[in-house]
Structures are given as structure tokens and as C-alpha cells.
Subunit: 388 residues, 2 copies
Amino acid sequence: MFENMIYLDNSACTRLDERVLEAMKPYFFDTYAVATSEFGYSMGIDAKEGLENSREIIASRLGTDSEEIIFTSGDTESSNMALKGTAWALKEIKGRHIIVLQIEDFPVLNTAKSLQKQGFDVTFLNVDGEGFADLEGLRKAITKETVLVSIQYANQEIGTVQDLKAISEICKEKDVLLHTDATHSFTRLPLNVKELPVDLVTLSAHTIHGPRGIGALYIRKGTPVSKFMDGGFQEFNLRAGVENIPGAAGFATAVELVTEDETRQLEAMRNRVIERAFSEIPDVTLNGSREKRLPQNANLTFHYVEGESITLHMDMRGFAVSTGSACFSRSLEASHVIRGIGGDHERAHGSVRFTFGRYNRMEDAEAAIDAMSEVVARLREISPLARK
Amino acid sequence: MFENMIYLDNSACTRLDERVLEAMKPYFFDTYAVATSEFGYSMGIDAKEGLENSREIIASRLGTDSEEIIFTSGDTESSNMALKGTAWALKEIKGRHIIVLQIEDFPVLNTAKSLQKQGFDVTFLNVDGEGFADLEGLRKAITKETVLVSIQYANQEIGTVQDLKAISEICKEKDVLLHTDATHSFTRLPLNVKELPVDLVTLSAHTIHGPRGIGALYIRKGTPVSKFMDGGFQEFNLRAGVENIPGAAGFATAVELVTEDETRQLEAMRNRVIERAFSEIPDVTLNGSREKRLPQNANLTFHYVEGESITLHMDMRGFAVSTGSACFSRSLEASHVIRGIGGDHERAHGSVRFTFGRYNRMEDAEAAIDAMSEVVARLREISPLARK
């Protein structure tokens, strides 16, 4: 591996912030007991206090109270619980229909498919060419049997930010629960659940320089959710398992460390990459919306070249970027997101995602696009698909 | 909290070993990418290698190959997956009956109860006065409809170690899958899945000075298990979610650090506590077997006194011990384990568990029993139940 690898895949995973580790250490080495009730021993009571402080910090970033936040092992579990928990709780009462966006990330998409196998009827809602949910289609798809709508806040690959306000108004009007996967937008885009009537929100620490293995689910008070993880009585008896208190402390600190200033810096890098790609490289398509996109995300298709080849050649030059190509993502097929917005296999295979994080600087973005220009030119020279 | 708290609740949670944290750091700060396929960038390939090395270390401690180990978020998830995964996979093929031990820990016990609500028939197998499974009862309970038997290796509270060999022979003879929760015995007691025909084993790092939020499930090749955590294609497409590679590295190091010598030291402390309690304190009952018990576990009922009072008074003297009393454990009722072995509420309420770990020394055990003698005498003086 390169000594000074420039890592531009921050939506997949992020480097841990040293300050996050510092926040975890007291719970590794000093207050390492499980959280006990007030009838427990003092180390357990202190541990409980640490857990609740972390919960409070995360809750307040969403504009809510801590009893509406439960800790999970990450966004995958949170989305499993949101979808299965509401579907199971309401199937006898309301019905067996759920609606998810066609371009959701795998935790939502494949949980929906798993519910399909359990006899639920699932609508995979269409998106337009930039990835925006079809709002009229949503309105029409909701029936009296619909127990849940799950539409992501921002897309994991192409960064398109949905109009959650309009979506939540439709759901409220139709009296159906709304879940949103905010894994990629949390702290980078505003979300206040007191102002926006969303009922469930998936959150994760791994995208914001927090630890892996910890996430959270916002559950609006009164929302019917069956337990997904059975066992002990932790997390208001909603999620069993020994509490990951160091993880929760790390997550809370990661949340506190994200600032508006930093997000604007990531956005500037993103903008620079998009601008230079369009002005310096021919035959480029921006995937997703130019205006309403995640501040840290650029996703471009460089036509006539293969994503795996780009990744390999960028890697040899010291840059880590990802592609919507099949083998890279281990998903067995080319990006369902690019195909969902109407792209063909060639567009999906040639797509490259740059996602910026705390440890990137503007010169990294500049260097990446310098390298990208060379790599694309070189690969097109040898590509049978390219226009010479 | 006391500056030098003597922590004797290592079965609930353990202090992280500094060497475990050192093993995690490279994956926090250097190789922090997600694990990619061989078509990914080099940091992802390195991350994958780290993950697979950790898997290999854990597998080899069980005497098996790494493709039979999947990482989870901990023992709770592993047991959820083992029970629900096999029940769901086999319900249409074989039947809807499972058998679990009456004194299982909550992840198995309450997952079984959750399956009951889903229409499964559950047998809660009895134990004798020391906590041993009723083997004749097991033999009789297995029907053609039985998809799974789940019997723990060693009990979380009273430390009784089951005769897994006899149990596995019955299951093999009757052609039924066997799961065992080895959360409290892993590395402390031998378990070789090549020699013992157990099909699924729950493991966790938090009991052996590893990180919280990471565990594993051993799944014998060919065992039908439905996915519990839906989403991405990680862990041989059996368990979705961004891999917790630092956690896996920490878990593997925690496994490597447990030695036979250390386990014998814990056993000596346990023996000393039991011996001194019996010789110095009147009206004491040992809960569980004297001979076949977890090396690190002592569980004693001090009659005529309340567990919460003991915990509180021990805490004031600087000792953290746990009790099977209801409020302490947050389980709403007094220990189902003590009641399972025929104890009444009084015996459950007065039970105290001492579990030893790496950071305890013999003088801690001695000091704990000194303090216990005083605390029990004092509490009995004011107890209306005590024989004066």
C-alpha cells in the first residue's frame, strides 16, 4: 500500500478521528462495566450515565429527546429493524404493503426483498434521471394496506438528496409511517425530526469518522416497532445486547466533531472535481443531481472505460476511489442505482465515486482529477469502445 | 467511583486489554477502508486480508476453517441468527419445533419466545438442581418436527458446564441440529468442533477483554441458515453490514491472549472464594455444580439477605459483584436460572455472582470474601428474615 494514499471513498468507510478514540478510552479502561440500573454498583451506574450522555448528544443533533434514540450495531441493523419491526408490528393490524425507493442502499433494498419472501407486497418506487423519487407515483402507490414508506435522505452512490419535506407531507396526509436512511447525510445535511414528520431514521457512525459497529435508530414516540434483536432488556427493551458504551461515546463525539465549516470544505472539493472533470475530460456524465446532492459526493461516468480498470490505475497512482462496477462492489451486478436512473450497463460500469472526508484537502481533489485525466486518456487509447 | 474498584463481574463485561486496542489501531488509522474484492483498491484488499486473518485465528481456536466463522455484532446477534436462521430455513422442510434449555441466557431464551409468537412450538428443557440438562428429557422431546436444539456450553450465572458430548450424540443420533451458546466458556474451556458434532456456536469478544460490538457465529458447512441481517453481501453473503474490521482484529487478539495458565489462576480465585465462604459464613448455598463449573465463576446465595443490599454494601467497600435479584438485572423478575434449578425467590434474591478476569489477583478474591463476611453479618443483623 502507498505510504500516503489519498483516500476518496469516505462514503464506504472513514478513518477514525483520534479524538473519537480518546472519547472511547474511558469506557475501555476505567468505566468498563455494563450499564446497570440505580440498584447496581457504581461502575455500572457511571457506565449507564455515559451511555445516556451519548444518546442525548445524538438525539439533540436530530432535534429530539434521547428516549427516541436506540443504539444498534450500525445502519444495516437500524434499517432491518425499521422495516421488519414496523412490518411485523402492523401486518395483522394494517396490512402487508411497504414502499421503498428503487435506488435504496442494500440494507433497505434487501430487507424489503426479504419481507417480500415473507409474504409482504413491496412497491419499488421509481426515480427520475437524477434519482429523485416519483412523488406522484408515491401518492398513487400508498393504499390502506401500506404500513411503511422507506425513502432515503441522500443516495449512497450518486448523492441525490430527496425532498423529504414533500415526501413526509404525502405520508402524513395518507397516514402512513415514513422511514429514512440518513446514513450518508447525517450531520452533513440538516435534519430536525421535530420539524419534519419522519417516524424512523437510520444513522451510523462509520461515515463520519466514528467507530464501526455502532449506529442508531430514531423511533418517534408511539411508533409501533417489533423487536428485531431479541434477548435482554437493553435500550428501553427495544434492542437486546450488551450495550456498546465505548462505541456510543465514540459515535457521540464523531457527531460533535462535524462542523458546518468542514462540510463546506468537502463541498468545495466536490465542486472542484466536477468542474474540472467537465472542462478537462471529454465524454463525462455526472450521475445524480448537480444542485441537490450530498456535499461530499461526486459521481461521474467516464464513458468507454471500465470501472475496475479506473480503480486499478488510480490505485497505482495512490488514489482510492470506488466504482459502480459489479466485481468491485461484490454485488454480483453493476450498480442498481445507475441503472435505476436510466443508465445502461456501460454507464454503470464506467462510474466513479469520489467521496470526501475530514482528512482530505483541496490539493487531494486537484491531484485526483489530474490523475483521473491521465488514467481515462490512457484507458481510452486501448479501449475498443472508445471513439478514437 | 472508587479509584481502585475491584471489579468481579467479568461475565457481564470485561476491561479491554491494552494489547487488544493496539491490534485495532492499524484498522482505525491506517487500513480503514472497507474490505474490497481483489478488484478493489489496495487499501480495501489489505483490509480484507486483515479481516480474514482475524477470522482464521478465531476459527483455529475452535479447531475449524475460517469459512465456517462469520462475524456478528455480538453474542445476542449470533444467537438470534442461529435460532431464527435455522428455524426459518427449515420450517417448511422439517417442522416448527425447537428445544432450548430453561436456564439459557436471554439471547437464546427470548429468541425462542419470539419464535413461539411466530407459531413455533418451543420446549423449554428442564435442568436438575445443579443446572444440568435433563438428557432423557431431551431424547424424549425431540420429534420429527424438531429443527434445532439449543443448549448452552456453560451457564452465565451459575457456571454449570453441560455435557456437550452427550448432548451432541443425542442430537446426531436423532438427526437434529445443535446450537450452543459458548459466550462464557470460549477460550476458558476446550471446544473443538471437529471432535464435537455441534452445528452452530455463539461467540463473543466482550467476555474475554476484547471489544464490545463484535462476536461471531460458527456455522458448520452445509447447515441451512437463513440470513438474519439483510443488506449487503458481506460475510459469505450470510451477514450484511460494513465489516467491523478493527473489532474483528481486537476479537482475534483477545482470543490469542487467553492462556491456560491464566484460566487456572482464575480458577484458583474462584475456589478460594467458595472455600472461604463455606468455612466462614453460615447459611450459604453454592448455586450450580461444584465440579463442572466455569473456571471463573462462583455463585453463592447468602440466605436471609437481599441481593441489592449486598451489591450496595459491597460497592461501598469498593467491590463490584452482581446479583440475581430483579432490579439489578433489569429483567423484571428474579433470576430465572436460580428458579430453574429449584431455588425459590429468596434464594434467587440473595444470590451473588463473582466472576474473575485478567485484572484480578488472589488478594482481590481474599479481600472480597473478607468484605462479604462483614456485609452479610451486618445485613443479617438487621434482617427480619434472619435467624438471630
